[in-house]
C-alpha cells in the first residue's frame, strides 16, 4: 500500500510541477510583455492563488464545484489544485528572475539596437531563468510537500495511506515513521540535486 501511495505522490507531484511551470511561465510572460487584459487577469490569479490555502482550494474544487454541476475526479482535482497553487508561485519566481536582470544589461542590449523581443530573447530570458532557478527549486520542494494535503479529498497518496493504515491497524508509530521516510526518500535527494544545479547555474553564467 505504501509503495502505491509513494508512486502516486511522485506521479501527482510530477504532473503538478510540470503544469505549474507551464502556467507560471505563461503568466510571467503575460506580465513581462504587459499583454493587455491578460496581464491583469494573470495578476489577479496570482494574488488569489498565493493568498489562499491549498486545502480550501481543493475543498472548493472537490466539494463545492459539483453543486453547480462541475465535477472532476479526485486526482484531477488534486492536480488542478496543485497547478492552480503552483502556477502562481512559479510565476512569481520567473517574474523575479526577469526583474532581477540588471538595468545596465538592458541598456547595453538597447545600445546595440536590440528591439524589445530580441532583448527578451537574448538578454532577459537567458539571464532571468538562471536567476529564477533557486526560487524554482524551492517551489518544487514546496509543491511536493503540499501533495500531503490531497489526503482530504481521498487520494490515496503517502499521507492518506498512512492515516488510513493507522485508522485500521492502530500502529501509529510504525506508519508515521514509514511516512517520514517516504518523504525523505523523495525530498532529500531532490534537494541535493537542486542545490547542485543552482550552484552550477549561478557559476555558469554569473561567476566572476
Amino acid at each position: 500500500m505504501f509503495a502505491k501511495g509513494f508512486e502516486l505522490t511522485i506521479w501527482l507531484s510530477f504532473i503538478g510541477i510540470i503544469g505549474s511551470i507551464i502556467v507560471g511561465l505563461v503568466c510571467s510572460l503575460l506580465q513581462y510583455f504587459k499583454v493587455p487584459v491578460f496581464h491583469q487577469i494573470a495578476s489577479v490569479y496570482v494574488e488569489v492563488s498565493r493568498n489562499t490555502p491549498l486545502l480550501i482550494q481543493l475543498f472548493f474544487l472537490y466539494y463545492a464545484f459539483p453543486v453547480f454541476g462541475i465535477k472532476f475526479g479526485a486526482e484531477l482535482c488534486g492536480i488542478i489544485g496543485l497547478i492552480f497553487l503552483g502556477g502562481s508561485y512559479m510565476a512569481e519566481g520567473f517574474t523575479g528572475g526577469f526583474n532581477g536582470v540588471s538595468k545596465s544589461q538592458l541598456e547595453s542590449g538597447k545600445a546595440i539596437g536590440l528591439n524589445q523581443w530580441q532583448l527578451a530573447r537574448y538578454v532577459v530570458f537567458p539571464q532571468g531563468f538562471s536567476l529564477s532557478v533557486p526560487a524554482m527549486a524551492a517551489n518544487i520542494i514546496f509543491l511536493i510537500k503540499e501533495t500531503s494535503i490531497f489526503t482530504v479529498i481521498a487520494i490515496p497518496e503517502l499521507t492518506n495511506t498512512a492515516l488510513d493504515l493507522i485508522g485500521m491497524y492502530y500502529r501509529s508509530n510504525e506508519y508515521l515513521f514509514v511516512l517520514v521516510i517516504g518523504y525523505a526518500i523523495i525530498l532529500i535527494p531532490l534537494s541535493i540535486i537542486l542545490t547542485l544545479l543552482e550552484k552550477r547555474v549561478r557559476y555558469g553564467s554569473f561567476g566572476n
Binding site: 547595453s108 538597447k110 546595440i112 539596437g113 536590440l114 524589445q116 537574448y122 539571464q127 553564467s205 554569473f206
Partner: protein, 246 residues
Amino acid sequence: MAEKVLQVAHLEKSYRKKHVLHDINFSVEQGEVVTLLGPSGSGKSTLIRCLNGLEPYQKGTITFEGKKIVPTEKNWQKIRQKIGMVFQSYDLFPNLTVMDNILLGPTKVQKQDRTTARSEAETLLKSVDLADYANVYPRELSGGQKQRVAIVRALALHPDFMLFDEVTASLDPEMVRGVLTIIENLANQENMTMIVVTHEMNFAKQIADRVLFLQDGRILEQTPSEKFFTNPQTDRAKVFLDSMDF
C-alpha cells in the same frame, strides 16, 4: 563647413522633480571629437544617455544626420545601430561568449551574414589584442579586456558616431592605458565622430577637438581643446582643472 552629424537644441531633462539638464544646445561635426567635462553630478551621463535614447527628455530636439529624431522607442532602436555607446560598467552579456556578444547586434539586428560578420569581428578583436579570446566567457576576462570587447561590440555595428561614458572609471590603473589607446586610435586614425566623457585630463587633452564643460546641468563653455586646457573661459572650469591633479 563640415557637415553637422548631430545637433542638439534646447534640450531639457528632469528625473521626476529634479531638473538635471537645462537648455542644452550644441552640435558635432563629421569627424569631430567632443569631450564632455564637468564635476560629478553635473549631468554628463544624463546628456550622453539622452543622445542614445536611453533617457526620455521633456523638451528640445535632437537632429541626427540631418533628420530630426521623433523620440519613440522604435525610432531610437534604429538610430542606436548608428550611434554606438560604451558605458563605465563593462556590460558584456555574461551568458554569451565574447564572439557571441559581438555578433549579436550584426547578425540579429542588422541581419548581416554570420560568416562575414564573424571574420570582421575577428579582425576587430585582433586590433584590440584579443584575438585569442573569441570563445571565452566574459567572466574569464579582466576589466580592461572586458571594456575592450565592449568597444568592439559597439564598433561591429559600423556606427557613424560613438559615445563613451567614463569607460575607464572602473578599471585598475594599469589597465586604463590599453583602453584609452584604442579610443585614441579611433579618434585620430579612423576619424570616428565621437563624444567622450572622461576624468582623465591628459587623455582628454590628447583626443579632444572641442571641450563642452558642464556644471549643474548647463553648458558653461564650449571651447576648442587647446584653449580650454591652457586657458579656460570660466572660473568654474579653472577650479575644476586645478582640482584634477594633486
